[in-house]
Symmetry: C2
Subunit: 372 residues, 2 copies
């Protein structure tokens, strides 16, 4: 039997407790042994929770309990989550997280520490929520050179863009509805400005190419300026405006990584990914294009990925996978130098250009790259 | 360094040799050691192949060479492929295959033998070609009860159905074109009659539910009777007629597995999967719907999955994964008892019914289940 602890009992943490309980038989079958939730660490009092008997406030209880082999970190951010992750790994415990900011900013250090201590540090839920994505990338597609990745990795902005099209509202109103329904947070900046998508793009780049990409190096344009008019124009052609993360690598090994709204034509599967769903296309030199689609957020779907990581950590408890990437930075090119077709609009008039680099475009009020 | 051998140097086998050579650095990084192709076993002479120096005709050379740790079987069928797989496993070698017929019909025996010998028997390429699908199912989604799977798993029939719609031809003509272009074999029976899709459905059911499903128990209707008129009717509603494998399980644990053409409405991602592409939606009780899409056949994409399996076999050479399923048969229900909406047509007139079981349908010339 393997004992585990959950740090942070919010949306994801409570989902993890629920999935572990409801699907205990599947978890035990996958892991090869029973997985028992022993502690939940949270500073808040939750006397009414069915998990109240497991609640503790002091992380050092988990840290010092030799029975605890796996720690799930669902606190978020880079404050106490970083401290506790370091201490759990240093104590020889496997750590599983859904925390994209922590992995994007401190992955090199934490993965090296995990390797040194002979434990696993897994983070499948950090990109694409419940969608199996990172493990297929570094495992199933390991026989490929990864040429490109393009994806809808932020469910909040995709929900808002879909809502704008379906209800004919501008962004401000769609945002308010999304907040009322719980699809957007009260402070939506990291979603709207693309910061969240950038973190996920960095994790994908780290895994695809084995070198660290720091979030502050990624050019980003969020969705704040996307107008209903542009969404309607795209829809009239069967397509959609989508916030995409883009990663590609040229023959010389130079990488281009950026996040921006795109005009996605009807012929792309990504045009048909609506609401809070996520989808990512990974292009390998052997496999060609392969797409992964599903629920990119939410308590239970995200918990599916976290608990899947727990199962894999237990299964590999004596032979850790040794995932990691180098702290040598990825050589980056400027995406503005990449030719593309563009959607351009001035006033009511819009058109799709021929292939051109950004500096060769005619003057226009609005321009979005076309996904080809 | 790990030495390996390929059995059968046809479409897939030659792709495996190519991917191993071209992506040697990625393979070595993934596997943690160099992977060297030592032998290719084929009864044919191929003096002009760049791999000619590796060719041998006698499998026992591979079997008796203690240096060979991994054997890739791309012979196909259940004749010599079965014999060689048994002998390779018995000799303590890991085996990787793309042979769906062998896995569907003899998986229980071969996986048990692999377990007994402490080696891996992997078959990612047997369903969905290059698409990472089986490993995500038994690995990433291990925290889920699998409720349903629905998929386009046969590229040949999907190519033919797409070609009928796009060029306005009946099936016979589309088949001839597909054969001329290499998308259909000269004997297309196992594709057109759904036999190939049934084998893949059985492998999915085996993995999802841990019990053996024999192909001859699966109700199947192929695409031979699909008329251009029905394809046009579906297209006029933004949808498509697709050959789907369907797997679902009710609360009592009873499973329903069948293969048949379906009317797929525009709202389903599966309606947008064209040509030789495959796509499979897996529904878990935690993750919800998750879709995997990509190239379901072809030499190099299929080789991507085979070589990915080789990498994973090498990485787990001392701690095999122990995949397998019980030979206790899956309890099966009759899909005819499952209510559904139906596309029905008599002459020129067509409509979509309300929910009904098959026996309650009005008399009609043509009827296909609607995918909801």
């Amino acid at each position: 039997m393997m004992n585990m602890a959950i740090l942070g009992f919010g949306t994801v943490g409570s989902g993890v407790a629920k999935v572990l309980t409801e699907n205990a038989a599947e978890v035990a079958a996958g892991a090869g042994e029973e997985v028992r939730l022993k502690y939940i660490v949270d500073v808040r009092d939750m006397p009414d929770s069915p998990f109240a008997p497991l609640m503790v406030k002091d992380f050092s209880i988990v840290e010092q309990d030799p029975e605890v082999g796996v720690v799930v970190e669902t606190i978020g951010g880079c404050g106490v989550a970083l401290t506790f992750t370091r201490r759990a790994l240093a104590a020889g415990k496997h750590v599983v997280t859904s925390n994209k900011q922590l992995v994007a900013e401190h992955g090199v250090e934490l993965l090296a520490l995990a390797k040194e201590k002979g434990v696993n540090y897994f983070f499948e839920a950090s990109v694409g929520g419940g969608i199996p994505l990172l493990r297929p990338l570094f495992n199933d597609l390991s026989a490929n050179k990864i040429l490109a990745i393009k994806g809808i990795v932020n469910g909040t902005t995709n929900y808002i863009l879909t809502a704008m099209e379906q209800s004919g509202t501008e962004l401000d109103e769609a945002l308010k509805e999304a907040q009322a329904l719980g699809y957007a947070e009260l402070n939506p900046d990291s979603d709207l400005d693309g910061t969240d998508a950038v973190r996920k793009a960095c994790i994908l780049a780290d895994l695809a190419w084995g070198r660290e990409l720091k979030p502050d190096l990624v050019p980003v344009e969020g969705i704040r300026n996307v107008a209903l008019q542009d969404i309607r124009n795209a829809a009239s052609a069967g397509g959609a405006i989508k916030l995409l993360c883009r990663l590609q690598r040229d023959e010389s090994g130079k990488a281009y990584v950026w996040v921006a709204p795109h005009f996605v034509p009807a012929s792309s599967m990504l045009a048909h990914v609506d609401s809070a769903y996520n989808a990512v296309i990974i292009t390998g030199n052997a496999v060609g294009d392969t797409l992964f689609y599903g629920t990119g957020a939410g308590s239970i779907p995200t918990a599916s990925a976290v608990v899947g990581d727990v199962v894999d950590a237990v299964r590999h408890k004596n032979a850790p996978r040794g995932i990691g990437w180098s702290d040598a930075p990825l050589a980056l090119g400027d995406p503005e130098t990449l030719p593309s077709r563009w959607y351009i609009r001035s006033g009511e008039k819009w058109s799709i250009t021929d292939m051109a680099t950004a500096d060769k475009l005619p003057a226009a009020q609005v321009r979005y790259r076309v996904l080809d």
